[in-house]
């Protein structure tokens, strides 16, 4: 959905999105990395199962909810990427373990 423009701070880290390796810029948020990944990143809502992508990018809308390193429903726009982070896109309701 987004593309990167030339920048000085080019230190990259690797994260995994549903098993797919994705390069991200150190210090950026998980949600920003997803927007720039070129992958299909829409989650599916627990209520209607409809697709959503991040809307506000400032911690307000909760449409960027993702599972990060096994913990569900984190606000992707408020978590900085870290090398080796595993992100998965949430589809529908969470199953109770």
């Amino acid at each position: 959905m987004f593309r990167r423009i030339a920048s000085a701070n080019a230190e990259m880290v690797m994260i995994e999105v549903d098993g797919v390796p994705v390069t991200a810029r150190r210090g950026e948020s998980v949600a920003a990395a997803l927007l720039a990944s070129g992958l299909s990143i829409a989650r599916e809502t627990p209520v209607g199962g409809v697709p959503r992508t991040p809307y506000c990018m400032m911690g307000v809308c909760f449409d960027c909810l993702v599972t990060i390193d096994g913990i569900g429903s984190r606000q992707g726009c408020l978590v900085s990427v870290e090398d080796g982070m595993r992100v998965s896109i949430q589809k529908g309701r969470r199953a109770l373990a």
Binding site: M1, F2, R3, R4, I5, A6, S7, A8, N9, R25, G27, E28, S29, A32, A33, L35, A36, A42, T45, V47, G48, V50, P51, R52, T53, P54, Y55, C56, M57, M58, G59, V60, C61, F62, D63, L65, I71, S73, C77, L78, V79, S80
Partner: protein, 473 residues
């Protein structure tokens, strides 16, 4: 049993590291008060100066001078001796000023003598049909990823709405090498007339020249459609077009990304949940906290500074931060009062910074139909997927206010806790029932104001008070 640890204690806790929080924390720390500044983001700056200390940009001109004006604020803060804790979410604040906060999955409590809430603004909800489709975002969102990650929308871009941010973002986007299919300006004709009497005062303000320059810069390269009366985002699994109407003429533009914006409003969740009274502000069409001239709420030791106290812009926010800090210093360290800038100076600077704001408020007051959806299929509560039609139906059968609506429809009960529907719901109920917004009220907000896991709550080491509450000697 072993003694429980004492809870961490600070003189001043400032929540939010935008201009208000930075200025407040720098002032109180400089006066010798122990000061902790916390923010949800990793580095200070807030939304307006997002990531200013670690900007990815080589070319400073892309973001413009106003952005880099944040540097001295951050420098003053860093020199002041105040502590900063980023990636921290405050999830609870009560009248005793015991503050629950989460950092990297661990929570703790901090006890503060004074709390300055500087949680700023959020964008006003813009409920049009299709605003939940993937590819539809707020202008603020696009600007955030531009500032923080140097990202620009990929593909065709349409921007719709009104307000200064649209022109600033459009200029930044064009400077970054982007293109814009069209800007659909929703500023109503009537607003230009209504704002006219305030024009002389605005002309002399800092906004006038800058605003005119930005609009010219954007208009040279972009198609601008003015006086847009209706908007509808179309698409199946993602946005593919925006349909709009000017008068009776309907048109449609295909697009890959649609950015929406119609101004900003105070982000009320933390202050309301803490019990700070809020009143409807007719001029800015939003709820704003009831405060004294120094930003103090009726709750002892809790102040609000910056746009969270009512929209005033970055410069006014910093002055309001200094004002709240002045009141805190006066209360806690009256002996050093003469070492801080006199309050008259701060008040004068604040008046200067607020000049021209009334004109902007009048000119950019969004039209009713963009605040209260006309079409019944428009989603109001994004989390629980509740439409305007369902809400109107619930009101017809007896739902009297926002809180009763929760029981009818779960409206406002999703993860965002009403942040993106609260204002719309209040205005919708007020319109349907022909009562005022104050009489309608707002959602009753409760802690935790940010979601934390039960495991995280349970893992907090209990302090003496918590232990004595449950342990019998």
């Amino acid at each position: 049993m072993s003694a429980a640890p004492e809870i961490e204690h600070v003189d001043i806790l400032v929540i939010g590291a935008g201009p208000a929080g930075l200025a407040a924390a720098a002032s109180t720390a400089s006066a010798g008060l122990t000061t902790l500044l916390v923010d949800e983001n990793a580095s200070p700056g807030g939304q307006i100066y997002r990531r200013i200390t670690r900007s990815p940009f080589v070319d400073a001109a892309i973001l413009g001078d106003d952005y880099w004006e944040g540097r001295p604020l951050v420098a003053d803060f860093e020199a002041s001796g105040a502590a900063f804790c980023g990636e921290t979410q405050v999830w609870s604040l009560d009248a005793t000023r015991r503050v629950g906060m989460s950092h990297k999955g661990r929570s703790r409590f901090v006890q503060a003598e004074r709390v300055i809430i500087a949680t700023g603004a959020q964008e006003r909800p813009f409920p049009i049909p299709g605003w939940t489709l993937p590819g539809v975002m707020s202008v603020g969102a696009a600007q955030t990823v531009l500032k923080a990650s140097a990202l620009v929308p990929d593909g065709r871009l349409v921007i719709a709405g009104q307000g200064p941010l649209i022109w600033l973002y459009a200029a930044q986007h064009l400077r970054a090498g982007g293109t814009i299919e069209a800007i659909l300006d929703t500023t109503p004709r009537a607003n230009y007339l209504a704002a006219l009497p305030l024009l002389p005062q605005f002309i002399g303000s800092r906004y006038a020249l800058k605003g005119a320059r930005l609009m010219r810069e954007v208009a040279r390269k972009t198609r601008i459609v003015r006086h847009v009366d209706a908007l509808r985002a179309e698409g199946e699994d993602r946005v593919s077009a925006i349909r709009y109407r000017v008068g009776k003429k309907e048109s449609r533009i295909e697009t890959d990304i649609l950015l929406l914006h119609q101004g900003v409003i105070p982000h009320v969740n933390l202050a309301m949940a803490a019990g700070v009274a809020h009143r409807w502000d007719e001029r800015q069409a939003c709820f704003a906290p009831v405060l004294d001239p120094f930003g103090q709420s009726a709750i002892d030791g809790i102040a609000i500074a910056g746009d969270g106290a009512g929209i005033g812009g970055a410069e006014a926010a910093a002055e309001r931060g200094r004002l709240a800090a002045w009141a805190a210093i006066k209360a806690l360290r009256p002996q050093v009062e003469d070492k801080v800038p006199p309050v008259e100076e701060i008040l004068k600077a604040l008046a200067g910074a607020e000049k021209g704001r009334a004109f902007l408020d009048r000119l950019f007051l969004p039209r009713k139909q963009f605040r209260v959806p006309v079409e019944d299929d428009t989603i109001v509560c994004r989390c629980e997927e509740v439409t305007a039609g369902a809400i109107r139906q619930a009101i017809k059968i007896g739902a009297a206010g926002p809180n009763q609506l929760k029981a009818y429809l779960r409206c406002g009960m999703g993860p965002c806790q009403g942040r993106l529907c609260g204002l719309t719901v209040t205005e919708l109920i007020a319109a349907e029932r022909a009562i005022s917004q104050d009489e309608t009220g707002y959602y009753r907000l409760r802690m935790p104001v940010k979601p934390i896991t039960l495991g995280e709550l349970a893992a907090i080491e209990p302090d003496a008070r918590a232990v004595s509450a449950v342990v019998r000697e």
